[in-house]
């Protein structure tokens, strides 16, 4: 199993937008040059990307096993955990106010109000999907909520 990190995912997303040279990938992702080169090298070794006239493109003929590995839910969970952890660390350890977390009690009526607001947020964010820009400038947005008991039950199982 080839475990993808957020570094590989970011570069794959960058190349998916358009074929790029190594310098353009660096510029698009803001990754340090040697790290960017190492990640691209790893993607090349796995035949996920290929080179053509000094530019890197996504390999469109991926075999089923690699596609399965790319879509592996457990691996994606750990990848997402890494992103969420960095965002939470920003809030809790570095004192940034980028992310907010709260635990509150809500009545059924209040849950409906929150769900309506979340739906509006989701619709608004969906509308932003067509926007284009550099990969490094994309913004992470998390939203939603779940009950304490459900989270603890899953944590225990």
């Amino acid at each position: 199993m080839y475990n993808f990190t957020i570094l590989e995912r970011m570069i794959l997303e960058s190349i998916r937008k358009s074929e790029k040279t190594i310098e353009q990938i660096q510029e698009d992702t803001a990754m340090e040059s040697h790290i960017c080169a190492n990640v691209v090298q790893s993607l090349l070794a796995k035949s996920l990307v290929s080179t053509k006239s000094n530019k890197f493109t996504l390999n469109k003929n991926l075999n089923a096993q690699i596609i399965e590995e790319l879509q592996n839910k457990k691996n994606q969970t750990v990848e997402m955990n890494a992103l969420v952890r960095e965002c939470i660390q920003g809030s809790l350890l570095r004192g940034e106010s980028t992310f907010q977390f709260m635990k509150v009690y809500m009545s059924e009526e209040e849950k409906k109000i929150l769900n309506a607001m979340l739906y509006n947020i989701e619709t608004f964010i969906d509308g932003l999907k067509k926007n284009k820009g550099k990969t490094k400038d994309e913004t992470f947005i998390f939203w939603g909520g779940d009950t304490y008991a459900k989270a603890v039950t899953h944590y225990l199982n």
Binding site: N3, L7, S33, N38, V78
Partner: protein, 85 residues
Amino acid sequence: MTRIFRLFNGSEMKMSEYEAFEKTIIQRTLSSGQINLMIKIEDFLLKTNAKDAEFLQIEIEQQLKKIEFKSTRFAYLHEKSSVSN
């Protein structure tokens, strides 16, 4: 030293010897904090379920890959990139 010389020349190693070598190497290369962590990971693997063990494995593998990516082990593209800059 004589024993090590014999091992390098193909002699078989007893299990107790292997464990003693392993223990010495670990004690000399890891800090006490790292040894404590290893003991806790061992304990965790003995007690946990398959799901949590698998998540830990993926997490460790991803952390190791991050370390590898941060190193300068793959020279080819890096050199190529530096030249063209």
